[in-house]
């Protein structure tokens, strides 16, 4: 059939990209100038605008470099404003500015999208929110990973010092399930207009789900979350930040019992934490408010074993989102790597502004 793409030509171009060291291990899409132009046409920002500069590495990423990497990641051109907003959102995170991308934790960006753009781009918000199978969900976070690698040179074993890293590090992106959430969308909670297209993003370390289909009692459910959040294993500071991606069933159960999002946060702030004896058993009683601390305190420095340390300092440390299917009561607890900016970034809408000037 005339016009069918030639797989051998495609293979040659893909292998060329491998040879240049441009891939994250999976094949990338080879990018032509005309393809790049399509991406750049999706934003009003100049191709030469510097998105971020890492002075210590002497490297920077421009809008054009971001577009090339988004295209290589498999994004469609219309995803590009989301990629830009995701980058801007994660770079509001203090840890991302402060070398977090090169941390031994190998933190993963968690990208949450709000607004009607979810349906327009086919961004999955429901079943399998963490599980892949949808082009924007898979390629938007991958674009960030490729930007880090190709623009800043942060690649494994050298400038990327990740010890083990987080499974699916460059694949955590979903739309909030606003339609089945009993609460206001995350971006609205963060102060944007209701219905705004927006991205919220923070660096995260570790994900663990809470499967609780066993109780009708909202406090039982909250205790189950508190137990998962209060683990000692992930603890490197006493003050921590842990969020929940609630499945619709859990969120609706809590909301039906009268819990607003803020009430859930307050309950968790009060109950998440450990007594000193537990921290001592894990060798973590010397962990301080803001630092790694050292070894266990000596006998004469020890505080009583029943003294309780709360882990979550305030509502800003407990991001809450709703995503996933309505088919089972399974939610996800995640750890924020540093401190989430508690803000959402509006997604630029070039197409609609073009349409408006044309009177469409």
């Amino acid at each position: 059939m005339a016009g069918e793409p030639d797989p051998d030509v495609a293979r040659e171009a893909i292998e060329y990209c491998y040879e240049q060291g441009w891939t994250d291990g999976l094949p990338v899409v080879p990018v032509s100038q005309s393809m790049l132009d399509e991406f750049l046409a999706q934003t009003g920002r100049s191709p030469d605008e510097v998105l971020w500069r890492m002075d210590h590495l002497g490297r920077e990423c421009t809008v054009q470099t971001a577009a090339i990497n988004a295209a290589m990641a498999g994004c469609l051109p219309e995803y590009f404003p989301v990629v830009l907003a995701a980058w801007d959102a994660v770079m509001r995170d203090r840890a991302a500015k402060g070398g977090g991308w090169q941390s031994t934790s190998g933190p993963a960006p968690l990208i949450v999208i709000n607004g009607p753009i979810r349906a327009e781009l086919g961004i999955n918000c429901t079943g399998g929110a963490f599980a892949g199978g949808f082009r924007p969900n898979a390629t938007i976070p991958r674009a960030l990973g490729l930007m880090l690698r190709n623009a800043f040179g942060v690649a494994p074993h050298v400038f990327d010092q990740t010890t083990q890293g987080i499974p699916g590090r460059w694949a955590i992106c979903f739309g909030e399930n606003e339609e089945e959430s009993p609460w206001e969308p995350l971006a609205t909670e963060m102060g944007l207009e209701p219905g705004a297209n927006a991205v919220s993003c923070t660096l995260t370390r570790t994900y663990e789900f809470v499967d609780n289909r066993h109780t009708q009692n909202p406090e039982h459910l909250l205790w189950d979350f508190a137990d998962t959040i209060s683990r000692t294993g992930v603890m490197i500071f006493r003050a921590q930040s842990a969020g929940i991606v609630f499945c619709p069933e859990h969120a609706q159960m809590l909301a039906s019992a009268g819990y607003a999002k803020a009430d859930v946060k307050d309950w968790l702030i009060e109950h998440c934490g450990r007594v000193e004896a537990d921290l001592r058993n894990a060798g973590k009683d010397a962990v301080s408010e803001g630092g790694l601390g050292g070894r266990s305190a000596s006998e004469d420095q020890r505080v009583p074993g029943d003294v309780f340390t709360p882990f979550l300092p305030g509502r800003q440390s407990v991001p809450i989102v709703v995503a996933g299917a309505r088919n089972a009561a399974i939610s996800m607890v995640f750890r924020v790597f540093g401190e989430w900016s508690n803000s959402s970034v509006p997604i630029e809408s070039v197409r609609s502004s073009v349409a408006a000037t044309k009177g469409d």
Partner: protein, 60 residues
């Protein structure tokens, strides 16, 4: 500069990117984070002679 030996690859690459390939620095065995004050003192003693020779050596 002294770092633990697990960070040698990154240290060498940083030196190169900063325009100082082959920059000489010292290492101590990894890990360091969990050492007691006495163990840190032992590490310091073990590396002291190298610190002295690095500081007093001429440029390579």
């Amino acid at each position: 500069m002294i770092c633990s030996d697990a960070f040698r690859a990154t240290g060498d690459a940083m030196a190169e990117i900063q325009g100082a390939p082959g920059y000489r620095y010292l290492t101590t065995p990894h890990p360091v984070a969990g050492l007691t004050p006495d163990q840190v003192r032992e590490r310091a003693e073990a590396v002291a002679a190298e610190v002295m020779s690095l500081l007093t050596a001429g440029a390579p």
